[in-house]
């Protein structure tokens, strides 16, 4: 049974698009499909006119240099310290001096409001909110053109959720990336979205500015 059925969606440069939908409607499938972590049965996904689905593996890895993905469970590599998690991409792909490497690591860490003493810790030693912040810092280190967030506030208390939504706004300003967020968190949508798409029964039922979304339109989230 298909999860997504004929979605047609344009995402504009430098905007924050929030895709809102209830649980189990294919939000994660959708956002993972956008970066080809999941290969769709049919359709087309274009970035600046370049078709994603026909890219070879090599080309796909080059495309991945332009994106960063904040996973629902943070997905920090649990055998690496926070420092190694933050530096992994730069160490593996960029010819960067140790000094610049350290500078960019600390810059990202401080940006998300964490102190230097976190660097030597391992992911399991951090709280859920801290892990999420490290995941955002890892995304920031890449300086991507496109930023994807899968349920960034899920599982967090209200204070941490607010911090994350603040970070999403700050990060967008800092690196001017196009941000795509899937969530069922209405408050997050109200806080960060430029535009909103409503995902219902595998279809996009509405796309428009944040202010155009009325409370009645969101009733389907509670059904």
């Amino acid at each position: 049974m298909p999860v997504l059925k004929g979605i047609d969606l344009d995402i504009h440069d430098n905007e924050t698009l929030v895709i809102l939908g209830p649980s189990g409607q294919g939000k994660t499938v959708f956002i993972k499909t956008l970066v080809r972590l999941i290969h769709p049965d049919s359709g087309s996904i274009c970035y600046d006119g370049e078709e994603l689905l026909t890219l070879s593996h090599k080309q796909l890895y080059r495309f991945n240099d332009r994106i960063a993905f904040v996973f629902q469970n943070s997905a920090l590599l649990d055998f690496l310290s926070v420092q190694d998690n933050l530096q992994l991409y730069l160490l593996m792909h960029k010819a960067i001096s140790p000094r610049d490497l350290q500078r960019r690591t600390l810059e990202a860490l401080h940006f998300v409001g964490l102190d230097d003493d976190v660097l030597d810790k391992f992911p399991e030693e951090l709280s859920g909110g801290m892990r999420k912040r490290v995941a955002i810092a890892r995304a920031m280190v890449k300086r991507p053109q496109y930023l994807f967030y899968d349920e960034p506030t899920t599982g967090l208390d209200q204070t941490n959720a607010e911090k994350i939504s603040e970070l999403i706004k700050m990060l967008k300003k800092e690196i001017s990336a196009t941000s795509i967020i899937v969530t069922h968190d209405i408050k997050l949508m109200r806080d960060v979205a430029d535009r909103v798409a409503l995902l219902k029964d595998g279809l996009i039922s509405f796309v428009g500015d944040r202010d155009e979304v009325s409370e009645q339109m969101l009733d389907f989230l509670y059904e």
């Binding site: 970066v35 080059r62 991945n64 960063a68 992994l88």
Partner: protein, 261 residues
């Protein structure tokens, strides 16, 4: 569905699963070979795996080797002391230990230790989206996770086996020539030299362990990457990795002997 139908459906499912696993493992091996030119790029991961496959397994290998040597000597001297000369008995103990006992027992134990932990590690990464995270960091999961483990297994199991064989023979010498004085050191040495074939040493110390090391790493990685579900899925993958590696090791043990000796 009646009982016989259920039986045939179950049999069909198992057959399909078997061939799917064979296909997937072969494909993973090919992908690993394809990733080999990037070995330098993944050198940090390789060094870490070499450390795990060597230094961390040395204590277990040492204990097993010492007691294999002791056990084989006690059994060998008891069984053949009335039938064979002492030097020939030492030669039988030497060859059975080097060519068969040490490589296979060590590989089976390491299949349990390394294969299970490898499958569990990769499996838990799979279910917590860490493998997908690697892809979004432009890192090939096979290059980053599988290839260093396979290369480490291929290189380090022979090293561990040479070390274990040496220890096994030393313990054999110690119990037969020093403690019990059943044989003189000179006779023990001449027993080792008797009918010595260099190829057999390569076979027992390098070829067999290299094949088993590759199998342990490849099977563990394969079942790790196939993991789905939660903690239960990780447990199932570890169990499958150990069981399948052990079965493959004993099957290959027979065929390698048939093909190469």
């Amino acid at each position: 569905m009646n009982k016989s139908q259920k039986f045939f459906v179950g049999l069909g499912d198992k057959t399909i699963a078997f061939f799917t696993n064979v296909y997937d493992m072969t494909y993973l091996l090919l992908q690993t070979i394809k990733a080999l030119p990037r070995l330098w790029f993944y050198r940090r991961q390789l060094i870490e795996q070499i450390y795990i496959f060597s230094v961390k397994t040395l204590p277990i290998a040492a204990i097993i080797a010492v007691f294999i040597g002791l056990g084989a000597t006690v059994q060998g001297t008891y069984q053949s002391s009335d039938l064979l000369s002492r030097a020939i008995t030492v030669n039988v103990i030497f060859k059975s230990t080097i060519l068969e006992l040490c490589p296979i027992v060590l590989s089976l134990v390491l299949a349990g230790k390394l294969g299970a932990s490898l499958a569990a590690e990769i499996g838990s990464m799979k279910i917590s989206e860490q493998i997908e995270a690697l892809e979004t960091l432009s890192l090939d999961p096979v290059g980053f996770l599988v290839m260093p483990r396979v290369v480490a297994g291929l290189l380090m199991l022979p090293v561990i086996t040479i070390f274990a064989n040496f220890l096994a023979m030393f313990s054999s010498f110690f119990v037969s020539a020093v403690i019990s004085e059943w044989i003189s050191p000179q006779e023990f040495y001449s027993g080792l030299e008797m009918d010595f074939k260099t190829f057999e040493m390569y076979f027992g110390n390098l070829i067999k362990p290299a094949v088993y090391g590759l199998m342990i790493a490849l099977v563990g990685s394969h079942f790790g990457l196939q993991t789905s579900g939660g903690a239960r899925g990780v447990g199932e993958s570890s169990t499958k990795a150990v069981v399948i590696s052990a079965i493959l090791i004993v099957i290959w043990d027979y065929y390698l002997g048939r093909l190469l000796l």
